[in-house]
């Protein structure tokens, strides 16, 4: 490869300073460039709501929002989301009170072992921001990026539907409109 005559900062190999804006706070760590956002959140910043399950961008248990859009955190490098705004499940229930999507998951028993649940909750949050009044078919299509081995899909369907109603009743402005630049 070219001995780059370049101003571009080349980082690594080896640990380099990385700072990422997560839930409104700048988090810093010395990380190898190969560390994923998911592992940085879990191992370095104590945010363990997003889970490592398939670790290959398939199952959705690590779903977080990047600039408002839901993505798989296992498929991103922490160093490459510097400058982006990350939102994790931990931001949803600040103060200990569940938000309407979480409440709906609890009420519909849309979880069993719970290991996929945070991913579903974050995914549903983004989905409802894009589509505040979904049909059942739209929920099935819109939530297809999350897998649950315990088989809670009936509950998830019900929860997303109920959360849509609760959110529209609360007439909450769509705070996290997806579809922005990422």
């Amino acid at each position: 490869m070219a001995k780059a005559k370049t101003k571009a900062a080349l980082s690594g190999p080896g640990k380099v300073p990385v700072s990422v804006l997560v839930n409104g706070l700048t988090r810093k760590a010395e990380l190898e460039p190969c560390i994923t956002l998911l592992d940085a959140l879990r191992e370095h910043w104590g945010l363990t709501g997003a889970k490592r399950v398939c670790d290959r961008a398939t199952c959705g248990a690590c779903t977080v929002l990047v600039n408002g859009a839901r993505v798989y955190a296992c498929g991103l490098l922490a160093i490459d989301v510097q400058g982006d705004e990350i939102t994790t499940v931990e931001s949803l229930d600040q103060g200990g009170a569940l938000d309407p999507v979480q409440e709906a998951f609890v009420a519909a028993d849309a979880l069993q072992c719970g290991f996929c649940t945070c991913g579903f909750v974050v995914s549903a949050t983004a989905f409802l921001a894009e589509n505040p009044d979904p049909t059942p078919a739209q929920i099935r299509k819109g939530m297809c990026g999350n897998l649950c081995r315990c088989g809670t899909y009936v509950g998830v369907q019900e929860a997303v539907s109920a959360a849509a109603k609760a959110l529209s009743k609360a007439a909450r402005p769509p705070a996290r409109r997806a579809g922005g630049k990422r």
Binding site: M1, G12, D55, A137
Partner: protein
């Protein structure tokens, strides 16, 4: 995954200057949805990653009735799928985009990355190489489990299927890609336009890629001509409703003269190491009035040259049906067909 060096250049010339002239030492990072998984599986082991995220303007989407669609390589699948011009003028593309992977993938995966994504062949992904040869140069695909492998263009040594679900439709639409690489002088990249149809190639040696991009080139833009008066339809057969790879896809483009097909383009996906153009099916359609029987004939023609590798014979039947049904959809003959209902 292995340690590597990460660069996030802020200009295209700079990005190009960071790329190696041979495959292997460097990789381009766009959305990362494929690359990060490949590195975790040690299917690729670059020493340097060149992130395109700081390149300005590479995610723009523009439409004009005369020039058609221009899509920056960093536009996401979701952005393209929702773009009003795509929804309105390229419904078959919107459908292929909307059915691809999952919302989380579509939010992150870029158009450029989708077109350059690597095959899902499980021998490749499990670390046995793109052509998956054993120590005696025998193909693990032929020896082993090839249920999802190629039925067309499968004379070897590549047996994987081209994974992009949008590439065949884009080829049918006459899309081109602009790629930029090192120019005569540093800071002045050379750019070339490649018809997407000739962008893809089946590698014949380990170490080659599945496309015409050179190792130090960046795919910067996709352009799609205006759709004109063509009737285009996309049909895919997959088992699961969401987030599952298709067994076969078909995109059929019909230009009618009166009642007859003046010309047809038949593209098939997930059946060959490249997006597959079926001249046989096109020939069957040309000059004919679309009917159920003609659609069936096109399907049969499409799989005429197909051959099973052992376990993937069923894909021949499926690919045939995909072409047949795409013809019916393009010709407007599919109303009320039970398979439309069943697929929803």
């Amino acid at each position: 995954m292995n340690s590597f060096e990460y660069g996030a250049p802020t200009s295209l010339p700079e990005a190009i200057s960071l790329l190696s002239p041979r495959w292997g030492p460097t990789e381009i990072l766009a959305g990362g949805t494929d690359l990060v998984a490949l590195m975790k599986d040690y299917a690729v082991t670059p020493r340097r990653l060149v992130s395109l995220k700081r390149l300005p303007g590479m995610g723009a989407i523009a439409w004009s009735p005369s020039k058609g669609l221009r899509v920056g390589a960093l536009a996401t699948l979701d952005e393209l799928a929702r773009h009003p011009a795509v929804v309105r003028h390229y419904p078959a593309l919107a459908q292929a985009l909307g059915d691809a992977a999952s919302p989380q993938i579509r939010n992150r995966a870029t158009v450029g990355g989708n077109l350059c994504q690597r095959p899902r062949c499980w021998y490749f992904r499990n670390g046995y190489g793109l052509l998956a040869l054993d120590s005696r140069k025998r193909s693990l695909v032929l020896l082993g489990d090839n249920r999802y492998h190629a039925i067309l263009g499968n004379g070897g040594p590549a047996y994987f299927v081209s994974p992009s679900t949008i590439a065949p439709t884009l080829v049918a639409l006459g899309a081109r890609v602009r790629v930029a690489g090192p120019g005569r002088s540093p800071g002045l990249p050379a750019s070339r336009l490649i018809a997407l149809e000739s962008f893809y190639r089946a590698p014949t040696k380990e170490g080659q890629r599945e496309h015409a991009l050179r190792p130090d080139e960046v795919l910067v833009e996709l352009s799609v001509p205006p759709p004109g008066g063509s009737r285009i339809a996309y049909y895919e057969v997959r088992q699961k409703h969401g987030f599952d790879w298709p067994f076969a896809t078909a995109t059929v483009r019909l230009d009618l003269a009166g009642e007859k097909v003046a010309s047809a383009v038949v593209m098939m996906g997930h059946v060959a190491p490249t997006p597959w153009r079926s001249r046989e099916a096109e020939g069957a359609l040309a000059g004919q009035v679309p009917t159920d029987a003609l659609a069936a004939a096109a399907g049969r023609a499409a799989v005429g040259p197909a051959k099973s590798l052992g376990q993937n014979g069923y894909k021949i039947a499926i690919a045939q049906v995909a072409v047949e049904r795409a013809v019916l959809l393009a010709a407007g003959l599919a109303a009320g067909a039970p398979w439309q209902e069943a697929a929803s």
